[in-house]
């Protein structure tokens, strides 16, 4: 690249190079530290592939006879948990989204408060929410619905607050000028603008919730996870395989469905 032998191609300033070097060093140090100190039993590691292969062999062929009725019922329960949890989560999230959007709520205190609620909801995983609600409601799908809902608040609330902040102020100003009250300005000026994002976010979250609600049963919060846990504890591997296939099928179907609907919405 260089025109004469004495020139050097310099891609980065010294500062950039230092930054890159530090990041690289940090990465390598972290990896070396993690590998050298992690407690992994060498015997486990050496026969892991063999054990894994053994497990897969025992799962094959999946016994589809197990599907009806118990797995089917649990799958439906999972579907209900995901859908109701999403609906409840959206209902709970909307007030916080309105409070967090700085163009709609002018109080910095309320903005911050709403952000705090949204961040807390997102920082706690739905499985941990499930543990909490199992402690509150006892084992069962009610705990699952609330776990899904509380985890969804942060996600839906954050994305909706962003959508609200992107809404054009012009139409709302025009409605203000006609003498419309606050709820009417929201209904006729803001809602039509954020409606496409709203359905997109709702569908997106439902898709995620369907995946997450499949594992809630592992901590007793209802759904197909309960059946999976039982089957694993009783070493019924063909049954486990059936359940996994059922989950896989539902998750893939939901993803296709959501992609289709979202494409039509836009």
């Amino acid at each position: 690249m260089s025109a004469t032998l004495h020139r050097e191609g310099i891609r980065h300033t010294p500062g950039q190079r230092l930054g890159r070097f530090l990041v690289t060093l940090l990465t390598v140090a972290a990896v070396v530290w993690a590998i050298r100190t992690v407690e992994i039993i060498p015997e486990f590691l050496s026969d892991a592939p063999e054990q894994m292969a053994d497990l897969l062999v025992r799962m094959w062929p999946p016994d589809l006879g197990h599907y009806y009725p118990s797995v089917h019922a649990a799958l439906m329960e999972t579907l209900h948990i995901a859908t109701l949890g999403t609906l409840l989560g959206i209902a709970l999230a909307m007030p916080f989204a309105l409070m967090a959007a700085r163009n709609i709520c002018r109080s910095v205190l309320l903005n911050t408060l709403a952000q705090l609620v949204l961040v807390s909801s997102r920082s706690v995983n739905s499985l941990v929410w499930a543990l909490i609600f199992v402690a509150v409601f006892g084992p069962g799908p009610a705990a699952g619905v609330f776990a899904i809902a509380f985890r969804s608040i942060g996600f839906v609330g954050k994305l909706m607050a962003e959508a609200l902040e992107e809404a054009h102020p012009g139409p709302v100003e025009a409605l203000t000028a006609t003498g419309a009250s606050w709820p009417l300005r929201m209904l006729k000026g803001v809602w039509p603008q954020v409606q496409p994002s709203f359905w997109g976010v709702a569908l997106f979250r439902w898709d995620i919730n369907l995946r997450e609600s499949a594992v809630l049963g592992l901590v007793g919060a209802g759904g197909i996870g309960v059946v999976l846990d039982d089957a694993i504890n009783f070493f019924q591997w063909e049954r486990v395989a059936t359940i996994l296939l059922a989950i896989l099928a539902v998750v893939l179907l939901a993803e296709i469905l959501v992609t289709r609907i979202r494409a039509r919405l836009l």
Binding site: R20, L22, T37, L55, V136, R211, L244
Partner: protein
């Protein structure tokens, strides 16, 4: 008389069906007002028992957090190393269909199974401990990172690749000079994102016995040690917060 509004029947029916479904599904799950009312009372007692958080067993807490971080780092690195060839194999513009189609299928399966389910399977197959967590999160990382890698590769400009090829470069040189420069910065972005999400997830896989702070958390829940639970939750949230800030700094440094 002229019509003021075009009636939107699909939307009306859709909303009605959704509302009817919500009522029906609620009854199916046996969720009643009575149950929620007792739950609220329990919730109050539960919160009261969480306060104040008990940090006296901080050594146990720290041990769990450190193990979670180790799991996150190792699984991210493994995931990325395995994702590089997988992403390339799955990219439809650089790989033949007989290779890209099955690779895409494999990636889709990795992505569709929740990491906690994968973790259980690994725990049953290779035993309790961090190894199962590493394996599970590596699989999860594969599903996400390889897919994003493949998409990034599919979006590159083939003109640049052709130009490098036209200079007589071999396949490795084409990858190094024609493909990598176009995708490198996005790859680093995806990798950082995955490290962040693996760190979150590594605090959980312990619930099914795959190592990390999750095991400590689950044990505390089972013993009704709710003040210790509060301490663990606060520690996890703090860890995730710090990780997010560090990731943001690194991103800024690399720009």
């Amino acid at each position: 008389m002229r019509r003021a509004f075009a009636p939107n029947w699909p939307a009306r029916i859709g909303l009605f069906v959704l509302a009817a479904y919500a009522v029906w599904a609620t009854s199916q799950l046996g969720i009643t007002g009575e149950r929620l009312a007792t739950g609220l009372g329990e919730g109050g007692r539960f919160l009261a028992r969480m306060w104040p958080p008990d940090f006296s067993r901080w050594e146990l807490l720290l041990e769990g957090l450190v193990e979670s971080m180790q799991i996150a780092v190792i699984s991210t690195v493994l995931g990325i190393i395995l994702s590089l060839p997988l992403g390339l194999m799955a990219a439809r513009n650089l790989s033949p269909a007989w290779l890209s189609a099955p690779t895409r299928g494999f990636i889709a399966v990795c992505r569709s199974l929740h990491y906690v389910i994968v973790a259980i399977l690994f725990v049953k197959a290779i035993g309790f401990g961090a190894l199962a967590g590493v394996a599970a999160l590596t699989v999860a990382s594969l599903g996400f990172v390889a897919k994003l890698f493949a998409e990034a590769i599919e979006e590159i400009s083939m003109k640049q690749v052709e130009a490098v090829r036209a200079s007589g470069a071999g396949p490795a040189a084409v990858l190094l000079y024609g493909v990598l420069p176009q995708v490198a910065s996005r790859f680093i972005g995806f990798s950082l994102y995955q490290l962040d999400s693996n760190l979150r997830n590594s605090t959980l896989v312990g619930i099914v016995g795959a190592g990390g702070i999750g095991g400590t958390l689950f044990a505390a829940f089972k013993r009704f040690d709710y003040d210790f639970v509060a301490a663990i939750l606060l520690a996890i949230i703090a860890l995730i917060f710090v990780a997010e800030i560090v990731a943001g700094r690194i991103r800024a440094a690399l720009q």
